[in-house]
Amino acid sequence: MHLPSYPIVEIADNYSEYKFISAGPKGDIPKLVVFSLVYPEDDIYNVALLDILQNGSVSDSTVSNNGDMREILATVAQILIEYSIQFPDRKIFFKGSDEGGKRIAVYQRAIREYYLILKEVFLIEGFINENVKEPFNPSNHYQAFLVKRK
């Protein structure tokens, strides 16, 4: 599968952290993808997309506006695919970090855009709310997502 993604520049040996560089009008912005175990009973890992700031800390709330959201999302999709090859039994959970819901809307748009590719690899479920989830329907809106390799 070919998506217009960035190469990974650094990776932890446990495959839980991945670093790549967003390149655009705002310059080079290092990005980090981190997988954290959040629900051991069902082997569910949360995935977070973060900016590495100049002081070395990380942020999930900066809006870098580097004009490359498509490449960033494609890179995250590629990371999800490779992570699921390493750990095929793990489920991956993600939701937007902002209260306004902009991030989850971006994730939803990305899943919709790459759905034909992603559904070949993953079972994708969307949480309508904290009590109800369903197989991903491009016409519906979700609060969070859960994916698992087929």
Binding site: S5, P7, I8, V9, E10, I11, A12, D13, N14, Y15, S16, E17, Y18, K19, L32, V34, S36, V38, Y39, E41, D42, I44, N46, A48, L50, S57, V58, S59, D60, T75, Q78, I79, E82, I85, Q86, F93, K95, S97, F127, E130, N131, K133, Q143, A144
Partner: protein, 53 residues
């Protein structure tokens, strides 16, 4: 720094995504950063309300 090995163990099969990557275990420190822990907590709370049985 070393390069990651694909589990298939054939270096020629390293995914294109990782061909420029180096192993940097310093990245693991971010696992315990306040932001990552906060996001993990939010995920736990969300999932705790869901009945997976």
């Amino acid at each position: 720094m070393s390069r990651p090995n694909n589990k298939t163990s054939d270096k020629k099969k390293i995914p294109a995504l990782f061909r420029e990557a180096v192993i940097n275990n310093d990245l693991k420190k971010y696992h315990n950063s306040p932001v990552v822990l906060k996001k993990a907590d939010e995920a736990k709370k969300f999932l705790a309300n869901f009945n997976f049985s």
